[in-house]
């Protein structure tokens, strides 16, 4: 059984790739992922803003109250060296590369076009095999046009690509007026892969504290429907490889995504919930299914149910909405 796939020009043993998550902050976990059969790993994102804020905050707190009172002119020793900027992250990339044989894909979220390129170059120098641009930005300005947001995306990809030799993937938001168009523009700007989709963590309301709080919720299998639709639509229409992420928990989910056209499937919530060894079970599940259904390779099934190749292309479009509703049977009606 041949599970090999290609993503961002990298030859991967299987389409199973753990995506960026807190698990990837620890090299021990990354090694564990490799041992469990991961074909590549995506490191957690380097958030430039977070680094900047941490630096500001640390500087503020270490200086706060100093030079005020004769007995305590400072409150902290001068550190031998403070690791500022992306050094800690770059070190992590280097360590991951040293520890692993599988490709290491770094992930970046920067603030300005200049810093995207600057950080990307340093990640390349640190030895990453590929870079995922995690363009995690929520535009809230009432006067900002959608086209301007799209242009920014394209510009980031163009500038990073022009500065880097590494393959570059773009982790996208699903919230565009015409997703196909922006995907195509990113493709033309040089993106080697598109990762569908970025799950923006939505804040919650704490009724006890009457406050808005960040609350991370792991994905449910239902979450895979949105990326699956768009993988299917884009497959064959863009040059870029496609990575599916969100809600991929079981072997069947992987198979569905690959059939829709995903070169790789990203695993996250299931690993956090069930442990890293879940990769092994999923791979076995894929193998079992392929054997049972007499598939020989991933390449064979890739995109076999994409919009282009499926029996009913309209099923991926809006017209199917009404049909879906009509076929919905509330569970209460069955007295469950």
């Amino acid at each position: 059984m041949d599970l090999r796939t290609k993503y961002l020009g990298l030859d991967l043993r299987t389409p199973l790739v753990p995506s960026a998550s807190p698990l990837s902050e620890d090299v021990g976990n990354l090694k564990h992922m490799e041992d469990a059969g991961a074909a590549a790993v995506v490191l957690q994102s380097l958030f430039e803003e977070q680094i900047t804020n941490e630096t500001y905050e640390l500087e503020h707190h270490l200086a706060y109250g100093t030079e005020s009172f004769a007995e305590s002119l400072t409150y902290f020793p001068e550190p031998v060296e403070i690791v500022v900027g992306p050094d800690e992250y770059l070190d992590h990339v280097r360590k991951a590369k040293e520890a692993l044989d599988i490709p290491v894909i770094a992930s970046l979220n920067a603030k300005s076009p200049g810093s995207w390129t600057e950080f990307a170059k340093r990640i390349q120098e640190a030895g990453a095999d590929a870079l995922e641009l995690n363009i995690y930005h929520i535009e809230t300005g009432l006067d900002t046009l959608g086209s301007s947001v799209e242009n920014d995306y394209v510009e980031i990809v163009r500038s990073v690509k022009s500065a880097l030799d590494l393959p570059v993937a773009v982790k996208m938001s699903p919230f565009f007026s015409n997703l196909a168009n922006i995907a195509s523009r990113l493709d033309q700007a040089g993106a080697d892969g598109l990762v569908l989709f970025n799950r923006f963590y939505q804040p919650d309301i704490d009724l006890k504290e009457l406050d808005v709080v960040p609350r991370v919720m792991l994905s449910t299998p239902m979450a895979m429907r949105l990326p699956m639709r768009w993988v299917a639509i884009l497959h064959g229409q863009v040059m870029a490889d496609l990575a599916a992420t969100s809600g991929i928990h079981k072997a069947q989910d992987v198979i569905k995504m690959v059939m829709s056209g995903a070169n790789v499937t990203m695993l996250c919530s299931t690993l956090i919930k069930n442990g890293i060894d879940e990769i092994r079970l999923i791979e076995q599940g894929v193998l079992d299914w392929m054997e049972e259904n007499e598939y020989e390779s991933v390449a064979q099934m890739l995109g076999s149910l994409s919009q282009k190749n499926c029996p009913n292309p309209a099923a991926f479009e809006r017209v199917q909405y009404m049909k879906a509703l009509k076929t919905y049977e509330p569970q209460v009606a069955k007295g469950v």
């Binding site: 640390l58 707190h61 109250g65 100093t66 007995e71 902290f76 800690e88 009457l210």
Partner: protein, 1198 residues
């Protein structure tokens, strides 16, 4: 200038620079002003900098100076080159070992930043009281007078001790030299090596104890030989001065800087000479140069080697022409025939005459005088006053200079207007706030000038006695000639006022020369500012023909991303208009310095500062000065305290507040260090632009805001509606929600001029506005528009009656917070984590408590002049407070208990004797009273009042009975239960005072010990204590503390009869309250360990109570109570009040800079220590859970 390498550093760094390079072991303990020497050494050791022999010295922080001296003694005995740094009380704790070290002829140098000793009051400032107290130890004593000399003499002392085998105490004046920043020639490693004789190093090593060549030292000797053995060392002391002079001569060959044991400077035919030691020499030297140029026959003799005192060299150093001599001591020896240096000089002169040696034909007239105690200014004007006095006929011996002694009339007069400062030098004064970075910027400016020009540079910084809203004054001098002015700038060419609020409090321009430059940070434009200046300021600007510049630095800093730190902006302004450097050169130098200073903190920080530089110049404007002051918008200087204040507060404390404390005569001050309490309320420091405002509609009346308020500015009262008559229109009141107090009115009021704006009250408020959730029941609002109204409201609030304490259920916070705080408006840091606990004690027990306070933050915010937050209630009762020392506080408090118990016992004995005269029923009621709650106390007070009345009315004929009645009258108040509190920080309880604490707990006596655990030495700037948690960065734990925190509570529990509680107000305030009540009620020793967040944690102080909660939620800080009385009734005394940890330890730790700093500096170490710390938390939880779940029978077996 000479062709040397120059550096701009302070005295502490200069000394540490040499001491570190010439030693192998360094054992220290932090104490102001010497702490930075140890901190530098530790930092260099961590950075793996080798000494001149290529090895990295071991630096260890000990539990006390006594411990440091012991470790030094041991390391010396074992043959290592060893040193220590200390001052003041710390040096006193080293005295026993100093005798041993000297008695064993052990080479070492102790470097001492000389400081006052605590007598009628503690002082952190400089004089020679401490070093003079060690003059009989056998240590040689070498005094350096300036930053350059401090570096040089550190080396000379090291060379001399190795050769002479006499240990050296090298001292320099605390703050004046230790903290003065000065441009000095740096000693090279080659020069240092050349000064030290390697054979003598080997000889020292070989004298060290070794089992390969065993010897015995430290014997016990008896009457037959001790005396003779003591005399064996004489030859070493006789040789020591010559050896020291030889070292000085060699030093001169190597560096060109020549010194002598007794160094005369002045006219060869001088008739009047001042003998002096330390930094004061520099002022005298400067004055001699000035007056000698005018033809005066005067001179100064600088004493460098004070012990061994070489009388012959001293006499020979004096000009033969001297007719009168003033010997100045910077210390006081009450009751002595004179101060030590005076006596030594007198002895030498007498011996020279009696024995016929020396060049003096006859004994000059000699007088001794005292100057400069506790860093009191010693100026050329005072020096001239002494010379003038020496020219007179009637000399006043044992005089004082620099004060007005109107009690013993010891002081001599001087003309304060006399100045020797040359016109060629630049002298600048900068008035800033601690938080605005003024001092840091000025230190930086000195370095820029020192490193970019041939000029000499000097910086000295004066700080406030308060930790919040503290004013700083920077005194800077630059010039082509070496600067000897060891006194404050009083004739400046440049004055900068970095905070506009100072304008109406201080006379900013008093020390600005005519034609000088005044720079003001203000929100007003160059066209508007004039009308916002006090009239007196306008008049001075016109009269002195000043040039006047303004900038809105706050705005420029803010728009550049710097927040409230205006340091860089004001620094640029200084260089732009002072002309010290060419503008472009200065700007380039500032930018270069920013890159160097902040380079290791990240690009963003560098860019932020560079932006501020660029934004400054376009916003700096010169003000066109009108020809007349004008009347419009008249603003006057505010009086320091209200006219309504009591006389002592107004006249004495008010003068100190206004910065005129130097002008107070001796008679104004109490003779025994006793001050009134309740004085902070008069200060009205008006520190904040935002104050909390109460919203009665949203308030649920929980009392939490008042409970956490570190400064006692949020008050709650419940009162009958009738008292609202005459309330100001804006005064807020609502119906009380508490059913037990139904029908009363309820008000939460803020003291608008005492609030520090920390906003911790807003953070803890649990009630949110139902329509606008960002608003709470208490919200920060701009203070200026509310000031007048809230002043009136506050005054009215104070006029409302306090609720009868016996009606308050003190077990419920919502009611307990109605108790009047008797600790208010302290000068602690804004948002302090300690003071809410102190205030709670004052509310619960303040009217019957005695407080023993260990030296540290709490003794500073509690007892640093001018005012004290400890207060009295309307009956005149309140906490009686005292601070003894750092190391003895538990014992000191136990002494209170012993005395209180004895007095109570005596009162009871007398009452029994006099029962028939005062009434058996009354005496029986008093003697059998159960005083467990407020109502009981109230009743007992009433009974005692009747007793006292009866005693006063009783006319006894029998003298013995009259004496008994008088005695009982003086003791009767002790029949009312007293509460003894022993308070301090973790440095005291875990480290220096632990032995005493342990003993006091073991005594079984009824004392309440409150440990405010900030997990570092907060007051001296964040040094590691044994309470510092694993993985935290603190001074002496640069690489993260590798050992876990000591479990003080567990140690206390092992006694079985000690009530122990660990509390964190921010995590569970009800638990804190319960623990305080139980601890006080327990008739035995109680220990409360209270989590106290601190500025030294690197946290947001506004949300610091959340850190307390996170510490508890993560299991880092366990809440529990161990109540011995439970064991008596068969219950498990251990109650674990924490729940199983629900968040990971890192979720707590990485909220705080002290932990994140390690993650940023040593990520791998941080990860390892985090893992260890988590394991430790898990294990501790299991252990405490196990203890709490044990059956009572198990406990009873303990």
């Amino acid at each position: 200038m000479e062709n040397s390498k120059f550096r701009t550093i302070d005295g502490n760094e200069a000394v540490a620079y040499v001491a570190y390079r010439t030693n192998e072991v360094i054992a220290i303990y932090p104490i102001t002003p010497s702490s930075p020497m140890g901190e530098w050494s530790d930092a260099w050791s961590v950075a793996e900098r080798p000494n001149i022999w290529g090895t990295i010295p071991h630096v260890i922080e000990m539990q006390s100076e006594g411990g440091a001296a012991g470790a030094v003694h041991g390391a010396l005995q074992a043959g290592s080159l060893t040193t220590t740094f200390t001052a003041s009380q710390g040096l006193l704790l080293m005295v026993p070992n100093m005798y041993k070290i000297a008695g064993e002829l052990t080479p070492t140098v102790f470097h001492v930043a000389a400081r006052s000793l605590a007598a009628q009051g503690l002082s952190i400032f400089g004089d020679h009281s401490d070093v003079m107290a060690t003059r009989s130890t056998g240590f040689a004593m070498l005094a350096s007078n300036s930053v350059q000399e401090a570096m040089d003499f550190a080396l000379i002392a090291q060379a001399a001790t190795l050769e002479s085998r006499v240990p050296f105490l090298h001292f320099f004046d605390g703050f004046r030299t230790s903290h003065e920043v000065s441009k000095i020639a740096l000693l090279s490693d080659e020069q240092i090596c050349a000064m030290l004789n390697h054979d003598q190093v080997i000889a020292h090593r070989q004298r060290g104890l070794s089992p390969d060549n065993p010897v015995l030292r430290g014997t016990a000797q008896n009457p037959d030989v001790y005396f003779q053995a003591r005399e064996t060392v004489n030859p070493f002391y006789e040789a020591c001065p010559e050896i020291t002079q030889k070292a000085m001569d060699k030093f001169a060959e190597l560096t060109g800087r020549r010194y002598s044991l007794f160094e005369y400077h002045g006219a060869e035919d001088a008739e009047r000479v001042i003998v002096v030691m330390g930094s004061g020499c520099e002022s005298v030297h400067e004055t001699v140069d000035y007056l000698q140029a005018q033809g005066e026959k005067i001179g100064v003799l600088k004493v460098r080697l004070y012990r061994p005192f070489d009388g012959r060299r001293f006499v020979e150093a004096l000009p033969a022409t001297v007719k009168s001599l003033a010997v100045l001591d910077r210390t006081k020896e009450p009751g002595g025939p004179g101060e030590p240096l005076y006596l030594d000089c007198l002895t030498a002169l007498h011996e020279s005459q009696a024995e016929g040696w020396g060049s003096l034909e006859k004994l000059p007239r000699i007088i001794g005088g005292r100057y400069g105690l506790s860093s009191k200014e010693f100026t050329p004007a005072m020096v001239k006053g002494i010379y003038d006095h020496l020219a007179g006929d009637a000399l006043k011996n044992h005089f004082t200079i620099g004060i007005n002694d109107d009690v013993s009339h010891t002081s001599i007069d001087y003309d304060d207007s006399f100045s020797t400062e040359p016109d060629s030098a630049v002298r600048a004064l900068f008035y800033g706030l601690g938080a605005d970075g003024t001092v840091g910027a000025n230190k930086n400016s000195i370095k820029i000038i020192g490193e970019n020009t041939d000029n000499y540079a000097q910086g000295y910084f004066v700080y406030d006695s308060k930790k919040s809203g503290a004013i700083t004054v920077s005194h800077l001098r630059f010039g082509a000639e070496p600067i000897r002015s060891t006194y404050l700038v009083t004739a400046a060419n440049f004055v900068a006022c970095h905070q506009p609020v100072f304008l109406d409090r201080y006379d900013m321009l008093k020390f600005l020369n005519p034609g000088g430059t005044f720079l003001l940070n203000t929100q007003h434009s160059k066209d508007e500012i004039w009308q916002h200046l006090p009239v007196s300021t306008r008049e001075t600007i016109i009269a002195k023909k000043l040039s006047f510049h303004v900038i809105n630095a706050t705005e420029v800093a803010s728009s550049s991303g710097m927040g409230g730190r205006i340091n860089t902006v004001m620094q640029v302004c200084f260089f732009a208009i002072s002309g010290v450097l060419k503008k472009d050169q200065a700007i380039a130098a500032i930018k270069d310095s920013i890159r160097k200073t902040y380079g290791n903190k990240g690009e963003e920080i560098v860019n932020m500062n560079l932006r501020a530089v660029d934004n400054t110049l376009t916003n700096l404007h010169e003000v066109k000065i009108p020809t007349a002051a004008g009347e419009a918008g008249k603003v006057e200087l505010r009086p320091p305290v209200s006219e309504q204040a009591p006389e002592f507060v107004r006249d004495v404390l008010g003068s100190i507040i206004a910065g005129r404390g130097d002008e107070l005569p001796v008679s104004a001050l109490p003779c025994d260090g006793t001050f009134p309490t309740g004085t902070a309320k008069w200060e009205k420091r008006n520190l904040t632009l935002e104050v909390p405002e109460w919203d009665p509609e949203v308030c649920i009346q929980c009392g939490k805001c008042a409970m956490v308020c570190p400064h006692g500015v949020i008050r709650i009262k419940a009162y009958d509606e009738e008292h609202l008559a005459g309330a100001p229109a804006q005064f807020k009141a609502t119906d009380i929600r508490d059913k037990e107090l139904q029908g009363m009115k309820y008000t939460i009021q803020t003291a608008p001029e005492d609030c520090t704006g920390c906003a911790i009250c807003v953070d803890v408020c649990p009630a949110r506005n139902k329509s606008v959730a960002r608003l709470k029941a208490i919200n920060m609002v701009p203070q200026p528009p509310l000031l007048e109204q809230e002043r009136k409201n506050w005054d009215f609030f104070l006029s409302l009656p306090e609720l009868d304490r016996s009606k308050i259920n003190s077990g419920k916070i919502r009611q307990q917070q109605l108790q009047e705080p008797l600790f208010e408006f302290s000068g602690a840091c804004a948002g302090c984590g300690e003071t809410p606990y102190v205030k709670l004690v004052s509310q619960l027990f303040g009217d019957r408590s005695l407080v023993a306070n260990a030296t540290g933050c709490s003794s500073i915010y509690g007892g640093n002049l001018p005012t004290t937050p400890w207060a009295k209630n309307a009956d005149g009762r309140g906490p009686a407070w005292s601070n003894s020392l750092f190391e003895d506080n538990a014992e000191f408090g136990l002494g209170f208990r012993l005395s209180v118990d004895k007095k109570k016992e005596q009162a009871e004995e007398l009452l029994r004797l006099l029962a028939s005269h005062v009434g058996d029923t009354l005496s029986q009621a008093i003697l059998e009273a159960v005083q467990t709650d407020e109502a009981d106390i109230f009743e007992q007070r009433a009974r005692v009042a009747i007793l006292k009345q009866k005693l006063s009315d009783h006319k006894a004929a029998d003298p013995a009975m009259r004496q008994q009645i008088a005695s009982l009258l003086s003791l009767a108040d002790y029949l009312v239960k007293k509460s003894v509190w022993i308070m301090g920080g973790d440095g005291w309880a875990y480290d220096i005072g632990f032995g005493g604490l342990d003993h006091v707990m073991a005594s079984g006596r009824n004392v309440n010990i409150l440990v405010m655990d900030t997990e570092v030495y907060s007051n001296t700037g964040g040094q590691t204590s044994k309470a510092t948690p694993l993985g935290a960065v603190a001074k002496f734990s640069v690489g993260g503390k590798a050992a876990p925190k000591k479990d003080l509570g567990l140690i206390a529990m092992t006694y079985g009869n000690v009530y122990v509680a660990k509390v964190a107000m921010g995590a569970k305030d009800e638990h804190t309250l319960k623990a305080f009540l139980e601890a006080e009620a327990y008739d035995g020793p109680s220990l409360i360990i209270a989590y106290s967040h601190c500025i030294a944690h690197g946290i947001n102080m506004t949300t610091a109570m959340q850190n307390q909660k996170a510490a508890v939620d993560s299991g880092q800080w366990l809440l529990y109570r161990y109540h011995p009385e439970r064991a008596l009734v068969g219950e498990n005394p251990m109650i674990l009040d924490s729940r199983r940890p629900k968040v990971a330890l890192e979720d707590y730790m990485y909220r705080e800079g002290r932990f994140t700093m390690l993650r940023k500096s040593k990520p791998d170490v941080a990860k390892k220590l985090l893992k260890q710390a988590q394991a430790e938390v898990d294990e501790r939880w299991r252990f405490y859970d196990y203890l709490a779940k044990q059956g009572s029978e198990d406990k009873n077996r303990q």
